[in-house]
Symmetry: C2
Subunit: 201 residues, 2 copies
Amino acid sequence: MQDFIIIGHKATTSGNFSLNDMPGSAGRMDILCRCLNSVFFLSHDLRRDVQAHLLLLGNPNPPRVIRFNGEKLRYLNPDERSAGALIKKALESDNISFLETCSTPGVWIREANLQTLLNEFVKDGRKIFYCREHGEDIRTIAEKIKNGVFILGDHVGLTEDEENLVLEKSTHIISVGPLSLHADHCIILIHNELDRLMARK
Amino acid sequence: MQDFIIIGHKATTSGNFSLNDMPGSAGRMDILCRCLNSVFFLSHDLRRDVQAHLLLLGNPNPPRVIRFNGEKLRYLNPDERSAGALIKKALESDNISFLETCSTPGVWIREANLQTLLNEFVKDGRKIFYCREHGEDIRTIAEKIKNGVFILGDHVGLTEDEENLVLEKSTHIISVGPLSLHADHCIILIHNELDRLMARK
């Protein structure tokens, strides 16, 4: 299984946002919606053996982690509004706590921060890959990134504190190509590398 | 320069559609919007040496071609609604004819079909690549696809007539990987191959 953690620094943690203004008042929620599309969609199918973890750090109730599991996921369509509607529904859940609450099939929400998420993956023996410019080229380490946990930032990247935390836990810094790309585009390139790896076996 | 032609078989050709229902009443316009994002966006920048040609074949006024030029393009943000708004504005242009009308900076609309588009590119000596499953792997022919014209279908692929037309004009059938992907994801993978090619030079 692959896991993708995407950090939305300004992404609202209230369900009271408008699907018509996700880049604005919802704090660049559109970025997280596009990442969900990239994590899960194949042509006429969903990737099943994959999870997305959206870390929402905007007001009023940060931090929130929304987990999407490809095996169980329902009601996700490719468009941004569809992803936004599932995020909104999750944020509207009653009694969000440190324990996960299921908001719709395949979607869970809880209060958790980056450190908690990373510690859980490390405890499970998972390898953590920080996706950033000037890292190792995924094409040269495709075999190693299988079953990886991939950390991606939004439009502002990671803060210094987040980066220090991730570097402490991560196995590799990886890059998808020579140019700096949006997180959702990076996810497509990571998937492609792994799809090719699986096809060769 | 790279050119991407994306065919929207059901995409409405009236500007009277709702940005809140692009997958539904606008005829899967969301697909074309995501393709625009993939064609143009880098992190904090736009790709300049590239064009997108959306071929809209839905009711009530097909066919329409909307051309987006990266060098001149303005007002495009990464979210689907932003792309949808530029498409809507183009479709609302007065007196759409066989000659291009500029609707917003870097965006032009006209009445044209696939055959016209392909003939123009062939006349200019451009190489045409049909992106489909079971084609040649782009990684093996990266050098050849530079300055290519890439044809991609929407969720229904190409019709038999369209496919025959494209096969008659195209240099190669190309594939981006072992799995069947959405058009916007294919565009990311084509760009990455060319970015890598340019970086090696």
